[in-house]
């Protein structure tokens, strides 16, 4: 028999929490991006777990779409970062704060 679904869900929750924390703690834009990937993976894990739990292929199809969207997001995001870095030497999100009140 396989491992109970609850364990996967807990694992996914922990992964999501770490991703969220990292996103808020780190200032390097690239690493913030990686943290988003962590969160997306946590969600994927949940999807797959529920697919198995509910015996529904739909969960896995959703993961497929999340993958595509994540890929597109990474491509555009990195392009933005490249465009940004072309004008700046530093790589931290905190350097961009024109909006300071």
């Amino acid at each position: 028999m396989s491992v109970p679904s609850a364990w996967y869900l807990v694992l996914a929750a922990v992964l999501f929490g770490m991703g969220a924390t990292g996103l808020l703690i780190r200032r390097n834009v690239l690493i913030m991006f990686m943290c988003i990937e962590l969160m997306l993976n946590a969600v994927n894990l949940t999807f797959v777990t529920f697919a198995r739990l509910l015996n529904d292929i739909g969960g896995q199809v959703d993961v497929l779409f999340v993958l595509v969207v994540a890929a597109a997001e990474v491509v555009v995001g990195l392009a933005i970062i490249v465009a940004l870095f072309r004008r700046r030497a530093a790589a931290t999100a905190d350097d961009i704060h024109i909006l300071k009140g």
Binding site: Y8, G17, T21, E37, A51, I57, Q60, I81, V82, R88
Partner: protein, 218 residues
């Protein structure tokens, strides 16, 4: 590979306990990889190291996918994520030469870090609390096809994608095209825009800058 192994073990009735144990083992290994990798991503100071730790996490997730009989997704996870996305990350890091260490301790706003950690923790607790509630799982039969049953995973996934999910699937194609075009537009160096000028630094930091440069910024 592990899936075939566990399937073979399941076939053997006397090996049920062994199969059980192996599933747990796969889960444990995957979980360890995931957590280690995630911790590495958010704690290591060198972006290159973070990217490599991300690969570890992604492999761990792929392992869990296999354990949950999502064979095709496991393969895609490794090919697309580890093979393409992380490579893209590394490429950008190297290309831009920003693989310097970041001073994680330095923080412009005092409360950001403790609050962020606290928030991560509370989110975790809340998700766990929510996962204890299952009354929204209605138990209604699957609309898009069952997971278990005859046929292999790829076949069933393909059937679902190309029938019930055809429209969203086509839309992802459009999304990818848009993303490609956007990337080309964003990466294109507009004529006359200075490369990494100190002027641009000043502008993005909120100090006075040349107004005609402002079009490229975020």
């Amino acid at each position: 590979m592990l899936a075939t192994l566990s399937a073979a073990m399941l076939a053997d009735t006397s090996g049920q306990a062994l199969a059980h144990a192996s599933a747990w083992a796969v889960f444990a290994v995957g979980a360890a990889m995931i957590l280690t990798g995630a911790a590495g991503v958010i704690l290591l100071r060198n972006p290159v190291h973070s990217a490599l730790m991300l690969v570890v996490t992604l492999f761990g997730v792929a392992l869990e996918f296999i354990d949950e009989s999502a064979d095709f997704l496991a393969a895609v996870q490794i090919i697309v994520y580890a093979g393409a996305v992380v490579i893209l990350f590394l490429f950008v890091i190297m290309f831009l030469g920003v693989d310097r260490k970041e001073a994680i301790a330095a923080e412009p706003t005092k409360l950001q870090k403790p609050l962020a950690a606290l928030m991560g923790l509370v989110v975790l607790v809340e998700i766990l609390a929510l996962s204890r509630v299952d009354h929204w799982a209605s138990g209604a039969p699957a609309q898009s096809g069952v997971l278990n049953g005859p046929g292999d995973n790829v076949q069933k996934l393909g059937q679902a994608v190309y029938t019930g999910y055809l429209l969203p699937f086509e839309m992802t194609a459009a999304l990818l095209v848009i993303a490609v075009v956007a990337t080309v537009v964003l990466s294109k160096r507009s004529a006359g825009s200075p490369e990494r000028s100190s002027q641009g630094d000043a502008e993005l930091s909120g100090r006075a800058g040349d107004p005609e440069d402002s079009e490229v910024s975020l």
